[in-house]
């Protein structure tokens, strides 16, 4: 037996890492649930895949769930009410074909809102989520003008009933956070995706774009999909199918 102590340990470690605890669950995957002390990591990039062929015209489950989850309240003034996600209806004028899709912050890899922010309030977290740090936001609304998707809203009125995990107030810009509090908690889904699934449509899929084993990556690799305004080369984290 010529194997020394170091070789033996290395071999043992490799064996443990590769061992399947149960079908579909491996030790290496268990380690991915993040503890509260651990910072977000570049090993992930969170994103959504939206299948417009499954999205029902007239259904607003995702919008309602988002606004409920994040404590967004309407003041009865649609022109200025904050809107983190909205339903957009597209109609082909020649054929009359109508399709409906949810539109929110696309969580770009190269976000124009971050480029134009004069204070650094608009930023991209290391795991690809584009956020507004309201502590630094001065409410200039440059980001709203820069965003090609009109994804951001300005809070015009005093806020009440904020959720503990989503502080929001007058004078700041805000947008979809990809339910960052849920991601940090390890829920592995967003309010909109959850609501759509509950409604039985399953048009919104949340997942890790950097994990080749995730459902979203598998679907993106095997089926056609597209980015909105791909010509801008923003490499969005939200992708669409069936457009």
């Amino acid at each position: 037996m010529s194997m020394n102590r170091r070789d033996f340990l290395a071999l043992g470690g490799a064996a443990i890492a590769g061992t399947a605890i149960a079908p579909g669950i491996r030790l290496i995957e268990l380690a991915q649930a993040r503890s509260p002390e651990e910072a977000a990591s570049a090993a992930h990039r969170w994103g959504l895949l939206i299948d417009t062929s499954k999205c029902q015209d007239g259904c607003t489950a995702c919008v309602d769930a988002c606004h409920e989850e994040n404590g967004i309240q309407s003041h009865g003034r649609p022109a200025t009410d904050a809107q983190w996600i909205r339903k957009v209806t597209l109609k082909d004028k020649q054929t009359g074909y109508v399709e409906s899709l949810p539109l929110m912050c696309q969580h770009c890899e190269h976000p124009p809102c971050v480029d134009v922010c004069p204070t650094g309030a608009s930023f991209k977290r290391i795991d690809g989520i584009v956020l507004v740090d309201r502590h630094i936001c001065i409410g200039c609304r440059y980001c709203m003008m820069a965003c090609p998707y009109k994804a951001r809203s300005f809070v015009h009125e005093d806020t009440t009933g904020q959720k503990t995990y989503n502080p929001r107030g007058k004078g700041c810009v805000e947008s979809c956070t990809l339910c960052v509090h849920k991601i940090d908690r390890g829920d592995g889904t967003t309010a909109c995706a959850e609501a759509c699934k509950k409604e039985g449509h399953q048009a919104i899929l949340f997942g890790d774009l950097k994990d080749p084993g995730s459902e979203i990556s598998k679907r993106l690799a095997s089926q056609p999909s597209q980015q909105l305004r791909a010509d801008l080369k923003l490499n969005t984290g939200v992708r669409y199918q069936g457009l």
Partner: protein, 153 residues
Amino acid sequence: MRNVPLHRILTSVVLASGLLLSAAGQAHDKAQAGRVPMPVHTIAQGEKCVEPTSEMRRNHMEKILHQRDRTMHDGIRTKQYSLKNCVNCHADTKTNSVLGKDGFCESCHRYASVSIDCFSCHTSEREAQAAAPAATSSTTRALNSGAKGITKP
């Protein structure tokens, strides 16, 4: 005695009684220490904070500021210095809030005339689900009912 004028004796008697009265007043009402009004607030639960009281009184803002950037930008959501944790523990049991005249945050800030910006965005109310379990664990309850009691300002 013959050399001391009458008005001197009267003055000293008045001063002495004044001192005695103020001492009695102090013992009677700690919050009204002499002529200086002190902020009044109740500490609803827990025996001690995450740091000693003297440290928290002076530097609580630094701790929250540091934590806020770590949470916002890095996604580190530890409880120790989180504003959410402050509110969950310190919110008034009646109003469920740290604001209001006798609220934990507002009473002192109003006294010191320092505005609090936190609650123009953050909720001043305790989390609905955190009301009972997080704060009134068996340990906390034992401490509350124990001989040590709760730390008063």
